[in-house]
């Protein structure tokens, strides 16, 4: 790994200034992706600005209608939060499925969604629950945030401060994990709020995406059988050494049914 200057600002303003003042700065959240990337030489920043010293970014606030998670809250903290589990159990379940226990100790929600790995878990929850991403500059709707593989709506130097999830009536996440990496070969997050249903898929394509046909069918009848016969076009799905596009397409159907069944039995927060 190339060496760099290291700074640990105490406020978001100081972090933004440190970034502006650097030639080639990089924000460090939990580091569970970026440190391996830097070891491989795929990133070589001149300055690393560690967001871990900004106390306010770790807060988790839960009300009757919204779960707000600070960008630097770790997966382990979210998974262990009784308040989050009460409000959106599916979100707790998802956080507890990310990577492995050690990754969950360090990895953060802000880091995960800013990176937008095509097989990351959190983007599915953010998109299906119709979350709002708040940055130091603005609020971004989930539908506008995830742009393409490893690409988001974030601008140069923009810092995520928190993510607000509206509490759904019923939600669940079902993931078929690669047995080695624990990344999703296909992960489906289903959320129902009133008569509106959102279905988000991660791991199967180049970027998290929604499945309109499934959403329409589930809005009429929120049951696994409502998904019978609905297929996902495979031309945009990934084929790699782990699975073909056809296999991933099949998995999306299976995981979506499992998620609906889990949402019916375990329900949501309300």
């Amino acid at each position: 790994m190339e060496d760099f200057s290291y700074q640990k600002p105490k406020t978001v303003d100081d972090a933004r200034e440190a970034y502006s003042a650097s030639a080639d700065g990089l924000f460090l959240a939990g580091g569970q992706t970026i440190l391996p990337v830097m070891k491989l030489g795929l990133a070589a920043p001149s300055a690393v600005i560690d967001l871990g010293g900004i106390e306010g970014l770790r807060a988790i606030l839960v009300t009757d209608s919204v779960v707000s998670i600070g960008a630097m809250a770790t997966h382990a903290t979210v998974a262990a939060s009784g308040d989050v589990r009460q409000a959106i159990p599916a979100l707790s379940d998802l956080a507890g499925m990310i990577g492995d226990p050690q990754v969950r100790t360090r990895g953060t929600i802000g880091g995960s969604i800013a990176n937008n790995d095509p097989a990351a878990d959190y983007p599915a929850a953010v998109l299906a629950l119709n979350a709002t991403i708040t940055t130091d500059k603005r609020q971004i709707a989930a539908d506008d945030f995830f742009v393409a593989m490893f690409e988001t709506a974030l601008e140069e130097g923009e810092i995520i401060t928190n993510v607000e999830f509206p509490v759904a009536d019923a939600a669940a996440y079902a993931k078929f994990a690669n047995p080695a990496s624990r990344f999703a070969l296909a992960g489906v997050f289903v959320a129902r709020t009133g008569n509106s249903v959102r279905v988000a898929v991660t791991g199967a394509g180049t970027c998290v995406f929604r499945v309109a046909d499934m959403e329409a069918a589930l809005a009429k009848d929120f049951s696994a059988t409502a998904l019978d016969g609905i297929t996902v076009a495979t031309e945009n799905l990934n084929t790699d050494i782990h699975a073909s596009a056809e296999y991933r397409g099949h998995l999306i159907g299976v995981m979506a049914k499992r998620a609906v069944e889990a949402a019916q039995t375990k329900g949501g927060g309300k």
Partner: protein, 155 residues
């Protein structure tokens, strides 16, 4: 070069490190505590697991400067003055290791697991070990050892 202060196995340590120095490099090369192993160096295998402020981390995927002010516990810090602790003893009795390379990480992960969940199911133990690879045992005896250690530690 940043100067950092932390405690490692309850002993205060002050070191100059580069920004890029990994926590595992500080532990092994800076402090000579070679019980913490580097297996894959890609945060997959878990041979480098230590505790930072009581929580398990892969020390190959954390900068040493990020541990400034932290309490770090390595495998050297978990044994009693003589003999083995219940987790180490159970790994010995249940043949939970063969070559032993992964064992320090297994011990540290199991220690954190049983601290958070003193009465785990077998499924809990297997879920808890997802970040630790063993290429010798097939995990069966490691899981048995951790279940046995949990029982011993509860009694």
């Amino acid at each position: 070069m940043p100067k950092i202060s932390l405690t490692v196995n309850n002993k205060p340590v002050t070191q100059d490190v580069e920004g890029r120095t990994l926590l595992v490099e500080l532990i092994r090369e800076g402090l000579g505590l070679t019980g913490t192993h580097i297996g894959c160096d890609t945060s997959q295998c878990g041979a480098c697991v230590v505790h930072v402020n009581g929580q398990p981390v892969k020390s190959c995927t954390m900068l040493a400067v990020q541990a400034d002010g932290a309490e770090v516990l390595t495998v050297e810090g978990v044994s009693p003055d003589s003999g083995l602790n219940p987790i180490q003893q159970a790994l010995h009795e249940h043949h939970g290791l063969q070559c032993g390379f992964c064992t320090p990480g297994m011990v540290m992960t199991a220690t954190a697991l049983l601290k958070n969940n003193p009465d785990p199911s077998e499924a809990d133990v297997r879920h808890g070990l997802e970040g630790n690879l063993c290429r010798c045992t097939g995990y069966q005896n490691i899981v048995e050892a951790i279940m046995a250690a949990a029982k011993t530690m509860r009694s």
